[in-house]
């Protein structure tokens, strides 16, 4: 299948006037096919959110896209488009939902008006048509009483309902790709389950591709088709969800699994990863995980390993566990 989105060698830097340039994202490549749910997993500061924002060209002004970065969406390299041209894609063909819906919703505008605005930004329809469509969208995202919800103010809604409204706005222009950045992190677990089910149902019904950005491997299991694990600006492992969970290859991924408390655990002690995630301006040389890695050898501190894939496409960037080929 031709990928819908093909990111190649994406690099994002934050130049400092004095001092070293901080490279928040360093040579990330990934593809997403139509209707596919791909998860991008990593801890805070690993560059996963910047990767998501780059797809919509929504990076902060201080950020610089690397010269060789390619963000090919449906055949067009978004990295080369002007701001005006990008608007034909952003919101229309690629939509995004964020962690905190209250920060994204306009507090002094009724919910229905915000959805109508999104509809009319991409389609020439009357306000009456847009409003009727807004009610339909609110019903599609599972709001119990869409006809009254359309007149509600954001503060009258719970966190879960607000995230449903954000999804309705994101769906307004019938996007081909939804970038969901920690869409359930601020929500209670039972509401989190509702929203994840909804996102999965929407992608199946609409054949919409989803890039799910999350810190939580548990959210990924059973939902994502493929998983990419990021650490310190780079993808360190990439595989189908089944393969990654059955046999993680990168020591960082293995460390994450060992440090997650589980409901079905035998109560034995958790095995944490030592140390902490380094900030972008202090990323270690070589493999960036080597100071925290229990397997690190001298080579790991000097040479950065590339992603090496097995015949089934399970790729890891590690000198020790993934062989030494390139």
């Amino acid at each position: 299948m031709t990928p819908l989105l093909e990111i190649d060698q994406l690099s994002i830097s934050f130049p400092h006037r004095d001092g070293p340039t901080a490279l928040a994202v360093d040579g990330v490549s990934l593809t997403i096919s139509p209707g596919e749910l791909v998860a991008l997993v990593g801890e805070s500061g690993c560059g996963k959110s910047h990767t998501g924002l780059a797809m919509l060209r929504l990076l902060p002004a201080a950020a610089e896209l690397g010269e060789n970065s390619v963000i090919r969406f449906d055949g067009t390299d978004l990295a080369r488009l002007s701001d005006a041209e990008v608007r034909r894609y952003r919101g229309a063909r690629i939509a995004m939902v964020f962690q905190d819906p209250m920060a994204s919703l306009n507090p002094v505008m009724r919910v229905g008006d915000q959805i109508s605005e999104a509809i009319r930004a991409h389609a020439a329809v009357t306000s009456a048509v847009a409003r009727a469509r807004a009610v339909e969208l609110l019903a599609e995202v599972g709001l119990a009483d869409p006809r009254s919800a359309v007149d509600a103010w954001p503060h009258q809604l719970s966190g879960g309902m607000r995230q449903r409204v954000m999804l309705a706005i994101a769906l307004a222009a019938e996007p081909d790709l939804l970038v969901a950045d920690e869409p359930t992190t601020a929500l209670d677990v039972t509401v989190q389950a509702q929203i994840l089910e909804l996102i999965d149902a929407l992608r199946q019904r609409r054949r919409m591709a989803v890039l799910l950005i999350t810190h939580d491997l548990g959210v990924v299991a059973g939902r994502a088709d493929r998983v990419m694990v990021m650490y310190a600006g780079r993808i360190v492992e990439s595989a189908t969800t089944a393969e990654l969970f059955a046999a993680p290859r990168h020591p960082y991924t293995r460390g994450l699994f060992a440090s997650i408390p589980r409901l079905d655990a035998d109560g034995s002690r958790l095995v944490p990863i030592t140390g902490t995630v380094p900030p972008p301006d202090r990323w270690p040389s070589g493999c960036r995980f080597h100071p925290r890695c229990p397997l690190a050898e001298s080579r790991c501190g000097t040479e950065a390993p590339g992603l090496v894939a097995t015949p089934t496409g399970h790729a890891a960037a590690c000198w020790i566990t993934a062989g030494s080929g390139s």
């Binding site: 989190q192 389950a193 089910e197 491997l217 408390p261 589980r262 902490t276």
Partner: protein
């Protein structure tokens, strides 16, 4: 089991519902009759979603909030009968660790000063011995003694939580309310702090009220668990048992909603409909009735509030806890 260290009976906390546009409405019943006990060295987890009242229970036990009704006994002493001065003395043995360690540390004071504060107030050690004690506490929570001279912003989230723990330990408490102590931390760091809390508990014989929303974390650290919904405890019992065989429909939904990092073992997810009712106007019957999926749910659930009663090895507040589903 030994005599309880902490006994909470019929705890109620109501907040006045005052806003700019509304006045004199009915109060918000954040905690609506909670009873629990904790033995020395025991960890009781209080689990619930936002708005369930779990944090208010912790704060009210420590008298950071005044209870509207109910009694809290610590080491046999009814805290409600104590004069402020006497309460301060008891507080030395009851401490709290917050979710956001940064918000609970003064950014302009060194870490050493923050830890020394409690030592000074409660006269734990002579003034001259304070630096040495601070260094020992930092070592105990896994930090270098040189951390004492640095400021909170120079530390990562996990390190700040270690500082918060060292500060709580300084006054040699018997009981610590841990209010979502690892929720704000990265996964790889979360495990470090959980292990530290468990080691300290075992070494010092500490009792914890461990407030959390994450059942997997609770399974890891707690001996017993109490599940809260809309200000009341709906199920309580041994942590492993409650999580393995939950009897209350809400607990069942909560357990099924926990993301399991194993695609081969995805449980049947119960996706709850709707949202919890308003704590301002709690329903007369079972607080969970409006979202309940129990096949035996009936008129009684709407009309009559179920009391916590023993069902198997747990206590469950459900009229239909025995019937199969």
């Amino acid at each position: 089991m030994s005599a309880p260290l902490l006994e909470v009976e019929g705890l109620v906390k109501q907040f006045a519902d005052r806003g700019i546009l509304r006045r004199g409405g009915p109060p918000v019943r954040a905690v609506d009759g909670v009873s629990l006990t904790i033995a020395p060295g025991e960890t009781l987890a209080l689990v619930g979603e936002s708005g369930s009242g779990k944090t208010t229970v912790g704060r009210t036990i420590l008298r950071l909030e005044q209870p509207t009704a109910g009694r809290v006994r610590f080491e046999g002493i009814d805290l409600g009968t104590l004069a402020p001065r006497e309460l301060r003395a008891v507080r030395r043995r009851m401490q709290i660790v917050f979710q956001d360690p940064f918000a609970s540390l003064n950014p302009r004071r060194t870490v050493g000063a923050a830890i020394a504060e409690g030592l000074e107030i409660h006269d734990v050690v002579p003034g001259a011995a304070i630096p040495e004690r601070v260094a020992a506490l930092l070592g105990e929570v896994g930090l270098d003694p040189s951390a004492a001279g640095r400021y909170p912003h120079q530390f990562s989230g996990g390190q700040r939580q270690r500082i918060g723990i060292a500060r709580a330990l300084a006054v040699e408490p018997k009981f610590i309310v841990c209010d979502e102590p690892v929720s704000a931390l990265d996964v790889s760091v979360q495990a470090q702090v959980l292990n530290l809390l468990m080691d300290l508990r075992d070494q010092r014989g500490l009792a914890y009220l461990f407030i959390a929303h994450d059942l997997a974390v609770v399974r890891q650290v707690a001996h017993r668990v109490a599940v809260m919904y809309l200000g009341t405890i709906v199920e309580t019992g041994p942590a492993r048992d409650v999580i393995a065989t939950p009897r209350h429909p809400y607990t069942q939904a909560l357990v099924s909603a926990v993301p399991n990092p194993d695609p081969a073992r995805q449980r049947n997810r119960i996706v709850l409909a709707g949202e919890p009712p308003s704590p301002t106007v709690p329903p007369p019957g079972c607080p969970f009735a409006s979202r309940c999926f129990h096949p035996a749910r009936d008129e009684r659930c709407i009309a009559e509030r179920p009391a916590l009663r023993p069902v198997g090895r747990h206590d469950v507040a459900c009229h239909h806890a025995e019937s199969d589903q």
